[in-house]
Each structure stands twice: as structure tokens, then as C-alpha cells.
């Protein structure tokens, strides 16, 4: 029985080293590159000839772009529009990584099932939020953690809690995505091994594998849904954090 964790193994394709750091090109890098290529194709084809009445490709890109812009309008307000390209890039990169990882047979790897990748993306969001917050409000940005209308002692107590929760944001953001992707792929792999083990039962071959096969089909549909929903959740939380930095409550 194959180890269900084996699918997350990072395999070096071309060893590289820069300034003492190991930056080898791995299967993870390869699938991030595929995600980049897929997104590039989607965007360049969709915006090759922008027209007032969009064609199919343009309408598809516009749908996603409009989706992100509406999300920012609702959660941040008119000033959120400036960050639409950034949130869009994060959203579509996570979405592409999640969905490409769902392709069976081709030995696909899901970069977003690695906490290193999700933490990298989450830190990108976190650092952006901090820069925007301090650039707009200076030290006044710390008032984000101060509860309005409370005494000094209670206020200081809440300040500490709020500050810690603010610092934990990149980790919760990263772990949410990584855990969802990892759990889904582990589950698929476990039921995949069930199909093989139960189906190879000598006295009654194949029959035992039918039920787990049905389950795996249903789970695959669920995982595709989760792949989309988690990309959305990641982008939504990023825009909520941006709202904090821009509007301070």
C-alpha cells in the first residue's frame, strides 16, 4: 500500500544553489510554472483584442476580474480597486495551483498543499497589508488594535490579544489553505488504495472496488469545489485584511 503522504514529496529536477541557499527546480516549481503558464494563456488570450462586446475568452477573464473587483468594492470600498490586480493575481494563482493539482494520471503536484508555498503567499498579503496600513495611517495604524470606548487596563489587555491575533493572520491564512489541500489529496489517495486493495480480493475480484470507486468520484467533485472555494476564501480574507489597513474599522 502506497504511503498517502508520498504524493507531497518534493523531488528535485535540477539542483540549484544561490548564495548558499538551496533553490533547486523541483516538481513543486514545475507545477507552479504550469500554473503560471495556464494563467498567462488565459489572460493573454482573453485580453488579446479587448472589445466592447466581449468574445468567449474575454468574457471569461472579465467574469473573474469583475468578481474580484466586486469583492473588493463590497469589502473595502472604492479605494480597494487599486488592489484589484494584486488580489486577482493571488486568487488566480492559488486557483490554478489548486485545480492543476486535481488532474489525475499525469503525476500532478499541488504546490498549495505545501505550507511553504501558502505561507509565502500569506506573507505577501500580510506585508502588503502592513505597508498599506503604515503608509496611510502612520503609527495611528496601531489604533486598529485598540477597542474604542474602554478603560486603559481593559484596552491594553485587548490590545495585546488583538495584536497577537493580527500577527497570527498569515499563519491561519497559510494553514487553512495548506490543510484543506493536503486533507483532500490524502483522502483521495486513501480511497484510491481502497479501490486497489478491495478490488484485488481473490475470491471475488473487482466487485469490492466499486464502492470506494464511487466514493472517489464523489470526493473528486467535492475536491474541485474545495479547490475553487479555498482560492476564493484566500482572496476574500486578503481583501478583508486590506480593508482593516485602509479603513481602520
Amino acid at each position: 500500500m502506497a504511503n498517502p503522504m508520498e504524493q507531497f514529496a518534493v523531488k528535485t529536477i535540477k539542483p540549484l544553489e544561490v548564495a548558499g541557499y538551496d533553490v533547486s527546480f523541483t516538481n513543486s516549481s514545475l507545477w507552479m510554472l504550469f500554473a503560471l503558464l495556464a494563467v498567462s494563456a488565459f489572460l493573454f488570450i482573453g485580453t488579446a483584442k479587448p472589445q466592447l462586446v466581449p468574445g468567449r475568452a474575454q468574457a471569461a477573464v472579465e467574469y473573474l476580474y469583475d468578481f474580484v473587483r466586486k469583492m473588493l468594492d463590497e469589502n473595502v470600498g472604492p479605494e480597494g480597486r487599486r488592489f484589484a490586480p494584486l488580489i486577482f493575481a493571488v486568487f488566480i494563482f492559488v486557483l490554478a495551483c489548486n485545480l492543476l493539482g486535481m488532474i489525475p494520471w499525469v503525476g500532478s503536484f499541488t504546490p498549495t498543499s505545501h505550507i511553504s508555498v501558502t505561507l509565502g503567499l500569506a506573507l505577501l498579503v500580510f506585508v502588503t497589508v502592513c505597508i498599506v496600513g503604515f503608509a496611510r495611517h502612520g503609527l495611528h495604524f496601531f489604533s486598529l488594535f485598540w477597542p474604542s470606548g474602554s478603560g486603559i487596563a481593559l484596552g491594553a489587555f485587548v490590545f495585546v490579544i488583538e495584536f497577537l491575533s493580527f500577527l497570527s493572520r498569515p499563519f491561519t491564512l497559510a494553514i487553512r489553505l495548506f490543510a484543506n489541500m493536503t486533507a483532500g489529496h490524502v483522502l483521495l489517495k486513501v480511497f484510491g488504495t481502497f479501490v486497489v486493495t478491495l478490488g484485488s480480493f481473490g475470491a471475488l475480484p473487482y466487485v469490492g472496488g466499486i464502492l470506494p470507486l464511487g466514493v472517489i468520484v464523489a470526493l473528486t467533485a467535492l475536491e474541485v469545489l474545495i479547490a475553487v472555494v479555498q482560492a476564493y476564501v484566500f482572496a476574500l480574507l486578503a481583501s478583508l485584511y486590506l480593508n482593516d489597513a485602509i479603513n481602520l474599522h
Binding site: V39, L43, H114, I115
Partner: protein
């Protein structure tokens, strides 16, 4: 879990993520989305402009319609007034003609009456003369004395 083998998986992934994301953001998203955003804005503007134009056209049409109705009502009033005036004129004219004809007829009647009156007076004079002469003759026959004509005339006039 290979995910927590940070010593071996962290830097290769983060480094490539950084490179690829920078390419994605500056090379792909920033190159393509603004074009699309411009077109989407143009479309919104065009739709808003078209709606405004349609609204303006509808307002003009409403205005023209209102003016048309007002003019129709005014000319209808005018026509009604003209008809009433013509009716009044006609009535006045016929009244005047009737009055004129009546006056003429009355004048003729008065003339005729005057003629009749003179004729009656003349006839009455002649009658008195005839009666006086008759009376003179009768008295002459009865008495054999012929009274004077003037006296007979006076007597007849007194008797009549």
C-alpha cells in the same frame, strides 16, 4: 509529512514562488488586466451614455406630445369660438333683416290704413252730402218748402 521538512522544502519552493509570482504579477496581470479594465469602463460609460440619450429622447418625445396636445386643444377651442361667433353673427343678421322687413311692412300697413282712413272720411263726407240732399228733397216734397242746403247739412251732421 514532507510539508514539515522545512530544511529541504522551504527555500526551493519559496524562491521559485517569489520568482514566478513576480513574473505573474508584473509580466502577466499588470500587462493584461488594465487593458480589460479600460474596456470595461468604456462599456459602462457607453451603456450609461446610451441610457442617458434614450432618456433625453423620451423627454423630447414627451414634450412634443404635450405640445401637440396643447395645440390641438387650443385649435379646438378656437374652432369652437369661431363657430359660436359665426352663429351669433348669423342670428344677428337675420334678426336685423327681420326687423327691417317688419318695419317696411308696418310702414306699408300704416300707409294703407291712412289711405283707408281718408277714403272713409271722404266716403263719410259724401254720405253726409247725399243725406243732406236727400233730406232737402224729402223736406221739399213733404212741405213744399225747400230748406237751405247748409241748414240741412247742419241738421244731418247733428243727427249722424
Amino acid at each position: 509529512m514532507p510539508q514539515f521538512d522545512f530544511a529541504n522544502v522551504f527555500w526551493p519552493q519559496v524562491a521559485w514562488l517569489a520568482v514566478l509570482f513576480v513574473v505573474l504579477y508584473f509580466g502577466v496581470v499588470r500587462m493584461t488586466l488594465p487593458k480589460l479594465g479600460k474596456v470595461m469602463e468604456q462599456r459602462e460609460d457607453k451603456i450609461a451614455g446610451d441610457i442617458a440619450a434614450a432618456k433625453a429622447a423620451k423627454e423630447t418625445a414627451d414634450e412634443v406630445d404635450a405640445r401637440y396636445h396643447a395645440e390641438m386643444n387650443a385649435s379646438r377651442e378656437q374652432a369652437r369660438a369661431a363657430i359660436a361667433a359665426a352663429k351669433a353673427d348669423a342670428a344677428k343678421a337675420s334678426e336685423a333683416r327681420l326687423a327691417e322687413a317688419g318695419a317696411k311692412a308696418e310702414a306699408r300697413v300704416a300707409e294703407a290704413e291712412a289711405r283707408i282712413a281718408t277714403a272713409v272720411k271722404a266716403a263719410e263726407g259724401k254720405l253726409a252730402d247725399a243725406a243732406a240732399e236727400s233730406a232737402q228733397a224729402i223736406v221739399a216734397k213733404l212741405t213744399g218748402v225747400e230748406p237751405k242746403l247748409d241748414a240741412a247739412k247742419q241738421t244731418v251732421a247733428a243727427q249722424l
